[in-house]
Symmetry: C2
């Protein structure tokens, strides 16, 4: 099947070369995120580019101490901003326990933008990994992110120093049915 | 900037030619979804391909009666399955009001797979639009989707009969900061 090369070739890379990513290349992956679709074109995504060793270490500690992350020269912290949908959200504390529908919408839209980052990175010969093993409260404190935001992921970015083999996926038959739901649970 | 062509060219298309999409091409866009990354490789996405006029009409009615949808020959109903993360979810009623963290995770992952569908469609010269203006309860009833699933979107797919101009996006300065949160709310 003729699947888009970048979708086929993207891997979660957990080992990076000691080589910087140019500012221009960082802006290119963010440009790909910027062009993502979103509900009512609300564009709830926000990004923090982190290259400082000190901040990276704090992020890694919060992100379940995944030491391999530190080999990546750049972290992109991907944030969903509910104020795009709830104008008076300032006083809200948005975390893992929040139920509101708007949170589901901004996570959905920001996830789309993050996928664009991963595909654009692949397109440019860069490696990446989407991580998300932290608590909202802890991650937000490190980066001064207001309480009404939600951190959808931390993407590591750099030049890969490994070639991960593709991970196994369910067969199409396990995830697709026709005309109505006929899948096993 | 050298942004991936498919990311740059994707549009939300709301007018389609009266021309069928081949079964093979439908499988190709689903293959792109199948290859998406997901937390712990859980792959919580499920898809229902709908081409029956009767079912399409019911879906459109539930999806805020957006009549333009009916011009598309194919609908792909994109579903997130929480049983990938909560094995005993059978008795759960997952809808807009559900708070659990696992729902946020499966919406996130399924949104990524949906973006792959849109980009793969663009890659193949197909047009698409991600819609999501319905209530969970109503959409699930139409397609016999169990109560513990969450419908992340209905994607229309076909050959476009319009060339939508790009919609305005926020500038990078409005969505990106460096080292810490320094964006206006």
């Amino acid at each position: 099947m003729k699947v888009l090369k970048e979708i086929r070739d993207r891997r979660s890379t957990r080992k990076y070369l000691d080589k910087q990513v140019s500012h221009e290349d960082i802006l290119s992956v963010l440009e790909a995120a910027r062009l993502a679709p979103s509900g009512s074109n609300t564009q709830p995504w926000r990004f923090i580019v982190v290259t400082s060793q000190d901040t990276k270490e704090k992020i890694v500690q919060a992100d379940h101490n995944q030491k391999w992350m530190l080999s990546a020269p750049v972290f992109i912290v991907c944030v969903a901003d509910i104020s795009c949908r709830i104008p008076d959200s300032d006083a809200m504390l948005i975390d893992e326990t929040e139920a509101c529908h708007e949170l589901k919408q901004i996570i959905r839209d920001t996830a789309v933008a993050v996928e664009n980052i991963l595909l654009q990175a692949t397109h440019m010969g860069l490696a990446s990994c989407w991580t998300g093993w932290y608590e909202q409260k802890e991650m937000k404190a490190i980066l001064n992110i207001p309480s009404d935001k939600y951190v959808v992921g931390v993407v590591t970015l750099g030049y890969g120093d490994e070639k991960p083999t593709p991970r196994k996926r369910k067969d199409l038959e396990e995830i697709v049915s026709f005309e109505q739901w006929e899948l096993t649970r």
